[in-house]
């Protein structure tokens, strides 16, 4: 038991590490690869939780994550950026050192927030709830700091990863019907943002959301 717990902690740490890497990554292509890797960590850790706790429905969740987040979405994103010809886009204007520092503060904050809940959790993965919350907040910050549409969406999907990890680490996953519903929403949402990329590109000739600041309060 102790060994699988160690493994889960290892993957949780890797998940957090990838969240930080995404926060500091400027290239879109690397960002997508990081996102796929994060999905893979999530799949592995879910599978380990399923194996060590004998929760068979978690195998389905792991399979669903593998199909959607490691294969389908990265493939879709790769296709999109090739079609939109933004494969080598680099985001020039983000202050990486200060975002990293704020990110560190967020991690400390979420560990403190998660502490009372983790103590209540009876699952073998309870120590990872803080990590889950931290990766949700880090992805949230990534969405705020980014200017371009594709990284914003990747931030959104990474946030979903963090939420999913929170669900497996604190409760061994949500009921199956809810999980299927969430997966459906994520899929439909991805198609919609795909459509959006094309519409934004067509209208503004760029995927930079700085062009979209006309609707000001006045």
């Amino acid at each position: 038991m102790a060994f699988s717990q160690q493994l889960i902690n290892l993957f949780a740490a890797l998940l957090l590490l990838i969240a930080f890497a995404m926060l500091s990554q400027r290239r879109i292509l690397s960002l997508i690869n990081l996102f796929a890797m994060q999905g893979l960590m999530l799949t592995t850790s879910t599978a380990i939780v399923a194996w060590s706790s004998h929760q068979h429905h978690l195998y389905y969740s792991a399979a669903l994550t593998l199909i959607i987040k490691v294969i389908a979405l990265p493939w879709l994103l790769h296709r999109l950026i090739r079609k939109l010809n933004v494969k080598w886009d680099v985001e020039p204007m983000i202050n990486i050192p200060s975002t990293m520092l704020i990110g560190l503060a967020l991690v400390v904050f979420s560990f403190n927030l998660a502490l009372p809940i983790s103590q209540l959790a009876g699952t073998i993965t309870r120590s990872t709830l803080g990590i889950a919350m931290a990766s949700v907040l880090l992805s949230f910050m990534m969405m705020i700091t980014r200017r371009k549409a594709v990284p914003q969406v990747i931030g959104f999907l990474a946030m979903e990863n963090g939420l999913f990890f929170a669900a497996t680490s604190s409760t061994y996953g949500m009921p199956m019907v809810v999980e299927l519903g969430i997966a459906l929403d994520v899929l439909v949402g991805s198609f919609i943002f795909g459509i959006f990329f094309f519409q934004i590109r067509e209208t503004f000739d760029s995927l930079d959301t700085r062009h979209m600041e006309k609707l000001k309060e006045d």
Binding site: I117, V136, F156, L163, V178, G181, F196, H211, L215
Partner: protein
């Protein structure tokens, strides 16, 4: 059976209209589907009034007086909006603003949107509630950008991202809720059923539930348009087609607030304190004040009334936060009044903007002179939403303010000042649009104003006299919420 019809008709309508949505008779099919949904909702209401709360399909659905009342309003406003939308969208298409494919998308998504809202209202599962709320965002986001103007794309992107982020917080809240529930109810699908949670709410872990409520309130509050997360709302309302502004404002905000209130009932039971109520009062009051002071700066007529929606959602949230039978009764009544009045106003505004060819208020003038019905519709609707007696909004606002004076006297000045500022801002702007001179010609086609006056007549009627069975129904719902 009724639930199957209520959910099945719009779902079927969405699929049918995805195929035939560009045909000439698509608007009529859209209205017919909404009419079917409305009939089914009446049937369900009759049954709930006669037999009390029911659960159906292995407890996956749960109907009590609280949500059946929202189901009926949703089905009713969806029907009148479909009736309004048929000549309105026909005219938009005739002006070359929409291609047949976009009309198909519009009609199909209109029905799917109704479906997601009704699913959110009828489901017993807090997880499915979240899924349906997210789906409601997804179905409307492409409708906001239907005209494909730069501004509408920007509004839709903002709506997508902000509501996506917001709703993700609500998912985290739901996970925490499940985490607490699992301790008592055991793992599996039943631990998220609201009826089961309600039965054991006093045993749920208080720290976890209070944290869960914060996330749920922030998440669903974003969709309700509560300040400070209201930024998406004016943009989405102003840039989308008018029928969508009407249903977003009149229905979606209510459904999101419904989710908050359902969570509040559980948290109140677990905590035994007024924690959830205090949070809701704070957010409600903040939204009310922020929106009221933003009103005077608006130039776009739809943005003006979008801010007014934020203001009214603030009042309703505040009233639910106060709790107690009178305040909750008033909140439910205000929800009804706001839905009916605000959608009527958006219908009139849509025609006024079509007539003037712009949504800028400085260019809309002399409505009564050329199109008296549109002018009077807008004027009366505005008076109603500003809380002038004898309209129903006055009754509900009066009850809310008197309860606030009684129990939370500190809040009264904020409410009164905000309502006063809102009155001054909206009234002066609408007055110049309705009266005054204009060179512009009449609207070339007959406006669809039956829904406007039907809604306003209902609001007037409910302001003068609430039938006993209706009052009883509200009272039952208020007793459930507490």
């Amino acid at each position: 059976m009724e639930i199957l019809l209520i959910l099945g008709i719009p779902l079927l309508g969405g699929l049918l209209l995805a195929l035939f949505g560009c045909r000439k008779w698509a608007p009529e099919l859209n209205a017919a589907m909404s009419f079917g949904t409305f009939l089914a909702s009446l049937w369900l209401t009759a049954r709930i009034i006669a037999h009390g709360p029911i659960t159906a399909y292995q407890e996956q659905f749960f109907i009590d007086p609280f949500n059946v009342f929202l189901v009926t309003i949703t089905a009713f406003v969806a029907l009148t909006t479909a009736l309004f939308s048929s000549p309105y969208m026909h005219n938009e298409a005739a002006h070359g603003k929409l291609s047949p494919n976009r009309l198909r998308l519009y009609h199909s998504m209109y029905q799917m949107f109704t479906f997601t809202m009704l699913l959110a209202l009828t489901t017993n599962n807090m997880g499915i509630l979240w899924v349906a709320m997210e789906a409601a965002t997804l179905t409307t986001v492409l409708l906001v950008s239907l005209y494909r103007t730069p501004a509408s794309l920007e509004a839709a992107w903002k709506y997508f991202i902000l509501c996506g982020v917001g709703i993700a917080q609500a998912l985290f809240g739901t996970i925490l809720l499940y985490f607490a529930a699992e301790k008592v109810l055991g793992a599996g699908g039943n631990a998220l059923l609201w009826t089961h949670l309600d039965a054991v709410k006093t045993q749920l872990e208080p720290t976890v539930l209070s944290l869960a409520f914060v996330f749920l309130l922030v998440g669903y509050g974003t969709k309700t348009g509560l300040a400070p997360l209201h930024n998406w709302l004016p943009d989405a309302h102003a840039e989308g087609p008018t029928p969508i502004s009407a249903v977003l404002s009149g229905l979606l905000l209510n459904v999101a607030l419904y989710a908050v209130v359902r969570s509040k009932v559980l948290v109140d039971g677990a905590l035994g304190t007024h924690f959830a109520g205090n949070l809701m009062m704070g957010f409600g009051l903040l939204s009310l004040v922020v929106a009221a002071f933003s009103l005077s700066r608006q130039k776009d007529i739809k943005r003006l009334f979008a801010y007014s929606s934020i203001e009214h959602m603030g009042i309703i949230t505040f009233a639910f936060g106060m709790g107690g039978s009178v305040a909750t009764f008033a909140a439910l009544l205000h929800m009804t009044m706001h839905s009916l009045t605000k959608s009527a106003i958006f219908f009139a505004v849509g025609h006024a903007a079509q007539k003037s060819g712009t949504q800028m208020m400085e260019s809309i003038r002399g409505l009564i002179k050329t199109n008296p019905t549109i002018g009077w519709g807008l004027a009366l609707g505005t008076l109603a939403i500003l809380g002038m007696p004898p309209f129903g909004v006055f009754a509900s606002e009066f009850m809310i303010i008197t309860t606030a004076m009684h129990e939370h006297a500190w809040a009264t000045p904020f409410i009164l000042i905000a309502l006063g500022v809102a009155f001054a801002a909206i009234f002066s702007k609408v007055q110049t649009m309705v009266f005054g001179e204009t060179e512009l010609p009449r609207l070339p086609h007959p406006p669809a104003l039956v829904p406007v006056f039907a809604h306003l007549a209902l609001v007037l009627l409910l302001g003068l006299y609430i039938p006993p069975y209706l009052a009883n129904w509200y009272r039952q719902a208020a007793a459930l919420i507490g």
